[in-house]
């Protein structure tokens, strides 16, 4: 029973522990198709862990993840123990959710085109020509058509991150996760990456973005969430968030620190 405003992604009570440390503590989140959610918060508050949990790079202890209304990723064994689904199912799920990392993590031994082709070629088993065409399209989208045949080592940080975005997009994901995509970049390179993300937003891509760039949050986000100690402390539209939530002492001090 799909409805028009059914959330694309729905998190219910996500909890992730590292030993005795609770990195994510019972987080609920609904993300509608086309929505851009920006998560901010101090270091160690669990933002990365939350994003990684959505992509099954972390196995959560509690909570459920629904994607397009389907509960995904975990099965309960006969003994009542919960564990990650079979590897091929997890891989299939991951290929529907793109992820961009702070440190790009491009494959250094492949050319730019090779990086972007890799997903369609190896995961989706497309023919080399087909994968190549997709990759060329994606590179055009991020404005790096001229860098096709170079190795990542020759690129600037901003260009690397745009290639990483193209690589994720080549899988035609329904949801994109960005974990501090500009934190490793020189200030003058941040703009080009956000331009790329902005274009994606205009095309209607659903995105969850962890960032410390408040200007970007104000401009692009449909919703801003403040996370602390593994929980969502406050959320709202950018106007609402930056006008009213500033009354939260902790948010105020956090924003003062990073602005």
């Amino acid at each position: 029973m799909k409805t028009a405003n059914q959330p694309l992604l729905s998190l219910k009570g996500i909890t992730k522990q590292f030993g005795s440390l609770t990195a994510v503590n019972g987080v609920d989140l609904d993300v509608c198709p086309g929505e851009i959610v920006v998560i901010i918060g101090p270091s160690g508050s669990g933002k990365s862990t939350l994003l990684r949990s959505i992509n099954f790079l972390e196995e959560i202890e509690e909570g459920t993840i629904l994607f397009e209304g389907q509960e995904i990723g975990y099965v309960t064994s006969k003994h009542g123990r919960r564990h990650l689904d079979a590897p091929h199912k997890i891989c299939a799920l991951r290929s529907e959710i793109g992820m961009v990392f702070q440190h790009f993590n491009l494959f250094p031994h492949m050319t730019v085109l090779g990086n972007v082709m890799e997903g369609p070629l190896t995961v989706q088993k497309k023919s080399p020509q087909e994968a190549r065409e997709i990759a060329i399209d994606m590179l055009a989208k991020v404005g790096l058509s001229d860098k096709r045949d170079v190795y990542p080592a020759t690129l600037s940080g901003g260009q690397k991150q745009r290639v990483a975005i193209a690589r994720a997009l080549a899988m035609r994901p329904k949801l994109m996760l960005f974990d501090e995509p500009t934190s490793a970049l020189d200030p003058e390179l941040i703009g080009e990456v956000f331009d790329t993300i902005r274009d994606l937003g205009k095309e209607g891509m659903t995105m969850i973005i962890v960032t410390h760039q408040m200007g970007f949050a104000k401009e692009m986000a449909d919703r801003v969430i403040f996370m602390e100690k593994g929980s969502f402390v406050a959320q709202g539209t950018p106007e609402d968030f930056f006008a009213n939530q500033m009354e939260h002492d902790r948010i105020k001090s956090f924003l003062n620190r990073i602005l």
């Binding site: 790079l57 299939a92 990392f101 993590n105 494959f107 250094p108 190795y151």
Partner: protein
């Protein structure tokens, strides 16, 4: 009485002359032994010229079959040879040939005197030509072994490395044990065990199979540890990025992680393969005729150090070529790192 006396006298003379002859012959023989003993003493004291002059006292007598003459002259010849007086040496040997033209000892000796009188480089080249065919046959076997192990051990090493980093305990434990066993015991012992030891358990291998097995297992264990280090040195983000685009663990290993180890692994693996070239010499102990064994055979047959020098040169040639090849491969493997 007179008759009696006469007879007695006649007989006495006959007897006396017999005794005299006998004594003389004993005396003569004894004399030569004495001479040889004296000569030996002189030699023992390092006084070779004195020994020579003593030995010269032995003279040739027709019908003399005791061999004292030949023995003395050959001894003189050898001593002169040692003293580097080739003319005197060949003169002594010629004395023997004058009476026994077919004496093989003297003939051989003359040949080696001639050999000695040739320029050194000529001798060396002749030796080389004499030994090379056999040595090259051995070298072909050495290279065959090396190439086989270079093809086998990286595959074995990769399997062991992947096993070691597996989260499945029995597999990683087994691989740990394998490495522990083969790195912890001498390769020579492993070869002995496989070739000489296993038959007592009813498993028999041909020398070549045993050599490939021993070297292959040993080098797989070493490469396993090297490859594991290489895989674990690849930044964790690479595996995550690969997984994030939907790759399975094995796809990520094959497409992303392992190709990045090539450049890092080339220097240590190159080192291992250089060591391998030399380690193949160990299989000469399990009845394999490779370069070392061939050199050893030549050396023992001719007691000629040229065989060993040649073998050393061939080993050096191999190691140099391999060093060169591995440097080239290393550069190619890391081409993406160049800006």
């Amino acid at each position: 009485m007179k008759f009696f006396n006469g007879r007695i006298a006649k007989r006495s003379i006959l007897l006396f002359s017999c005794v005299l002859l006998f004594a003389a012959s004993i005396c003569f023989a004894k004399d030569y032994d004495q001479l040889f003993t004296e000569a030996n003493d002189a030699m023992a004291q390092g006084d070779l010229p004195a020994a020579i002059s003593i030995l010269k006292k032995v003279e040739f007598e027709k019908g003399d079959d005791s061999g004292a003459f030949v023995r003395s002259r050959m001894q003189i010849a050898r001593l002169q040879f040692a003293l580097k007086d080739m003319n005197a040496a060949s003169a002594a040997a010629k004395e023997v040939l004058a009476v026994y033209p077919d004496n093989s000892e003297a003939l051989n000796f003359m040949a080696s005197v001639q050999q000695e009188q040739k320029p050194r480089y000529k001798v060396f080249i002749e030796d080389c030509l004499r030994f090379l065919p056999q040595l090259l046959k051995g070298a072909v076997m050495t290279i065959t072994l090396v190439v086989c192990i270079i093809l086998i051990s990286p595959v074995g090493g990769l399997l062991i490395a992947l096993g070691r980093i597996s989260t499945f305990k029995p597999v990683s434990g087994l691989c740990w044990f394998f490495i522990w066993l083969f790195r912890g015991t001498p390769l020579l012992l492993q070869l002995f065990f496989i070739y000489y030891g296993l038959p007592s358990l009813g498993i028999t291998f041909k020398p070549f199979t045993a050599a490939i097995l021993g070297l292959g297992l040993n080098y797989s264990a070493y490469l396993g540890e090297i490859i594991r280090g290489g895989i674990q040195s690849i930044e964790h983000g690479q595996m995550e990025a690969a997984k994030a685009i939907g790759m399975t663990y094995w796809q990520a290993m094959r497409r992303v992680i392992i190709p990045q180890t090539y450049k890092r692994l080339m220097p240590p693996i190159g080192n291992e393969f250089i060591a391998l070239i030399k380690d193949t010499a160990l299989v000469s102990t399990i009845a394999m005729v490779e370069l070392m064994r061939s050199a050893d055979q030549m050396f023992n047959a001719y007691f000629n150090v040229t065989a060993l020098i040649l073998a050393a040169l061939i080993y050096l040639l191999f190691t140099t070529i391999f060093t060169f090849i591995f440097e080239k491969i290393e550069i190619r493997a890391g081409i993406y790192e160049n800006r």
